[in-house]
Amino acid sequence: MSRELTHPLPRSWWLKRPPYFRFMMRELTSVAVFAYTPLLIWALWSAADAASFSVFYEFLRGPLSVWLHVVVLVLAVYHTGTWIALTPSVLVLWRNDEQVDPNLITGTTAMLFLSVSVGVVWLVLV
């Protein structure tokens, strides 16, 4: 039986087919979620006094911060899109012995995202 051939999966498997690549990108959006947390911790820490907060605020206005934010924003939006798209396969609901239309669940989640986003921006800007 030792003459059976095995073909171990190479580490580069996720580069071989577009759906695999999109999957790996989706998983790596978690790095963006991670990368944003030091900024949140810094925000909490610096809000204690005006001098520290000025340093934080000026950092946010600098070019380095803006570029990092652009990268994180792209990944965060991709995360949101994929997360919403996958929601109906985890959340399978039944009402009166009929399955709730998966598109309704996707739509509701998307609406929730939009209203929450508007809410957050409104809270800060107004």
């Binding site: 003459r3 051939l5 095995t6 071989k16 759906p19 998983e27 996958l86 985890v90 959340l91 012995d97």
Partner: protein, 247 residues
């Protein structure tokens, strides 16, 4: 009407060679031909040494799964006319040991299937006189999709998690576990949990989702596994709040 194409076929003859190779066959095919027809034509008319599995030729038996141009397919329902590439590459299903040519060893899958107890489990056996275990159409609707599996193993072939670690219980077996967990007549959810919620069970799955896309019977194993994760995780959370419940 007849057209020409080249099939580039993975060959491995264990008695004669140690490495696999690709062999090209130029064939004249008809519009109505599926890949399996072409392989059959090659075997009967050109090269009788070519080996492959098939049986029903109508997408029911699940024997003729192969990799066609990089994707796992049932070759009996994959039409040659749908490929406008110059050559069509035929390989055995990925992630399984190759016995010869396009024939893979399915032992691992066959051993995994019964570990999830894919049959009705009840706390007590009803006496025969008590009659059938009745079920309404609505109750059946909850699991029907997951019951359509024909064990063709395309999902294992599409799953990189299984490709990297063959200890993973895998899509079809786990979907079948959920099929019985969702069955109103079944009381085996707890009994299946040891295997299903093991480290190499549902928690291994990272939801690549390709198992669902390649499934010829629209079973959605990826969805079944996420449903299993959610229901067992909620059971676990409930057992914290209400100790003494199961587990």
């Amino acid at each position: 009407m007849p057209e020409q194409t080249v099939l580039e076929v993975y060959r491995y003859l264990p008695d004669e060679e140690t490495e696999p190779r690709f062999q090209s066959y130029e064939i004249t095919y008809r519009d109505s031909w599926v890949v399996l027809d072409a392989l059959d034509h090659i075997k009967t008319e050109i090269d009788p040494t070519l080996s492959f599995r098939w049986s029903c030729r109508m997408g029911v038996c699940g024997s003729c799964g192969m990799t066609v141009n990089g994707e796992p397919k049932l070759t009996c329902e994959t039409f040659i006319r749908d490929y406008n590439t110059e050559t069509i590459k035929i390989e055995p299903l990925a992630h399984f040991p190759v016995i010869r040519d396009l024939v893979i060893n399915m032992q691992d899958f066959m051993e995994k299937l019964p570990t999830v107890s894919p049959w009705l489990i009840t706390d007590e056996d009803k006496p025969l006189e008590a009659g059938e275990y009745l079920q309404t159409p609505a109750q059946m609707a909850r699991y029907k999709r997951f019951s359509m599996c024909i064990n063709c193993m395309l999902c294992y072939s599409a799953c990189p998690v299984y490709g990297l670690n063959s200890l993973f219980t895998g899509p079809a077996a786990l979907a079948l576990a959920e099929r019985y967990n969702l069955d109103s007549r079944d009381e085996g959810t707890q009994e299946r949990s040891d295997v299903v919620t093991a480290h190499d069970g549902i928690w291994r799955c990272t939801y690549v989702g390709e198992c669902t896309k390649v499934c010829p019977k629209d079973v959605d194993p990826a969805g079944a596994i996420q449903m299993l994760k959610l229901s067992y995780a909620l059971d676990w959370a409930k057992s914290l709040v209400l100790p003494g419940r199961g587990r």
